[in-house]
């Protein structure tokens, strides 16, 4: 019991710090792309600290309990995900059956709570934001799960994160096959949508619906949402590394270096996509995910199944 609590606290705070640093990197790189200087390194920590010290306003039209509870549950969901993922990466042999499915569910929690909080705030802008968030969730969740299923199929139908890591350690990364490469491309684009980054930031488009889902949030509640978002930014690349890219190799010192390299590549991709694309409309987003990415994910899955049936590991 004690070790569970310790794992949770360590993983959650570690991920929070990592996520806030990554958010700063994101802002700094964005500033440099726009030929600006950008914020100092401690900026994101100061933002959270400041919001913690401000007033927490609840609008008169809001349904108070849901409004205040939503950010806490979102933060807790991200914390538990962090604990499961870091535990799986540190000690792959101790994972429990089906933790991949638990992680998929827990990763939906922040988006779900954003919708709940926005709907509870009783603000029309937030309502539009919530409806967009819901459509976004519907559009990226299907290709995301299909892409993850490719990795599951290739590693011998193991729904354990630890099992997926161990199978890749024995038989090479999922990424190195055709279906795996297709699947990780789909998963990277879904990650962008899950993080709510441009071009899929339409739920909180600040110039058309005034920060959308977060419009009525202030002070500590807003800080909790920001922290949960920052943790997601740290967790999604981690999930992709575990599932597609072989996790962490602890056998030698260069294992840690390559892990950091993989992590850096995925985070850099998020910032790169965000800085080179305009925001899409909701109908364009839906079309992109359903008619663009879902067929690719299905194709990857079919290729993976054919590869398993015919014994062709490169497929």
């Amino acid at each position: 019991m004690g070790s569970i609590v310790l794992t949770f606290i360590l993983a959650a705070t570690g991920t929070l710090v990592l996520g806030l640093v990554l958010r700063w990197v994101d802002r700094k790189v964005t500033a440099m792309v726009q030929w600006r200087v950008g914020p100092p390194w401690y900026q994101t920590f100061v933002d959270v600290l400041k919001l913690m010290g401000k007033e927490n306003l609840v609008p008169v039209t809001a349904q108070g309990t849901g409004f205040l509870l939503a950010p806490m549950i979102a933060l807790a969901g991200s914390g538990v995900t962090a604990a499961i993922l870091w535990h799986a990466i540190a000690i792959p042999s101790q994972a429990f059956v089906g933790d991949l499915i638990v992680v998929i569910y827990l990763l939906i929690l922040p988006a779900l709570m954003t919708m709940l909080g926005a709907a509870a705030s009783g603000n029309p802008h937030a309502a539009i934001g919530a409806s967009r968030e819901m459509k976004l969730l519907l559009s990226y969740e299907l290709p995301m799960v299909l892409a993850l299923l490719v990795a599951v199929a290739q590693t011998g139908w193991s729904f354990k994160l630890g099992g997926i890591i161990e199978a890749q350690a024995a038989g090479g990364s999922v990424l190195l096959s055709i279906s795996g490469a297709l699947a990780i491309i789909v998963a990277i684009l879904c990650m962008q949508a899950k993080l709510g980054q441009v071009p899929f930031d339409l739920a909180e488009a600040e110039c058309e619906i005034m920060s959308g889902v977060y419009v009525e949030y202030s002070g500590p509640s807003l800080a909790m949402f920001l922290m949960s978002r920052a943790m997601l930014l740290a967790l999604m690349p981690l999930l992709l590394i575990i599932v597609f890219w072989g996790g962490l190799y602890t056998g030698a010192w260069w294992g840690y270096l390559t892990f950091a390299g993989k992590y850096f590549v995925l985070v850099a991709l998020v910032t790169l996509i965000r800085n080179t694309n305009p925001r899409l409309r909701i109908d364009q987003t839906l079309k992109f995910f359903w008619f663009g990415l879902t067929p690719v994910a299905v194709l990857a899955l079919v290729l993976a199944l054919v590869g398993i049936a015919k014994g062709l590991p490169w497929l």
């Binding site: 802002r27 900026q43 600290l49 401000k54 306003l57």
Partner: protein, 146 residues
């Protein structure tokens, strides 16, 4: 308490309220985001909702139509917050002071709902971005004494 105020000074989020400006002050406010002035260096960003804001950048004369809305926006802002009255219009209604459609000047309109509001005046028509940055820095100094 000191830590709280330090964090507030290092991360001022600005919400821009147009209370009947001629649009020239607004353009100068947007200039603050450009590479030349880049106020994100000081941790300031423009936000989309008064609930997130620490600074209300008010431009314009505060017409009769705009006044109740300005007061509402001020009350919606999470405290502690600072009001920047930007431009001659926002300071004392400028050349429009005797016109028929004036409400109260910005400072009086805000003091009417909160007598203890912190208001910083940025004169000019329109003020230079440098003077707005100066005003924001002075606002930070003022917050130190709180």
């Amino acid at each position: 308490m000191a830590l709280k105020m330090w964090a507030l000074r290092k991360s001022l989020w600005v919400y821009h309220v147009n209370a009947g400006a001629c649009n020239n002050c607004d353009i100068e406010v947007l200039e603050l985001l450009t590479p030349r002035y880049d106020i994100e260096r000081f941790g300031m960003i423009l936000v989309g909702s008064p609930r997130h804001a620490d600074v209300l950048a008010v431009t314009g004369v505060c017409t009769r139509q705009a006044m109740p809305r300005l007061q509402e926006v001020y009350m919606q802002t999470a405290k502690p917050c600072v009001v920047l009255a930007i431009g001659a219009c926002a300071n004392a209604q400028g050349i429009f002071t005797e016109a028929y459609h004036m409400g109260l000047p910005v400072d009086e309109a805000i003091k009417a709902v909160d007598p203890n509001a912190i208001i910083i005046y940025v004169p000019g028509c329109p003020p230079k971005p440098e003077s707005m940055i100066d005003a924001a820095v002075k606002g930070m100094e003022l917050l130190k004494t709180l």
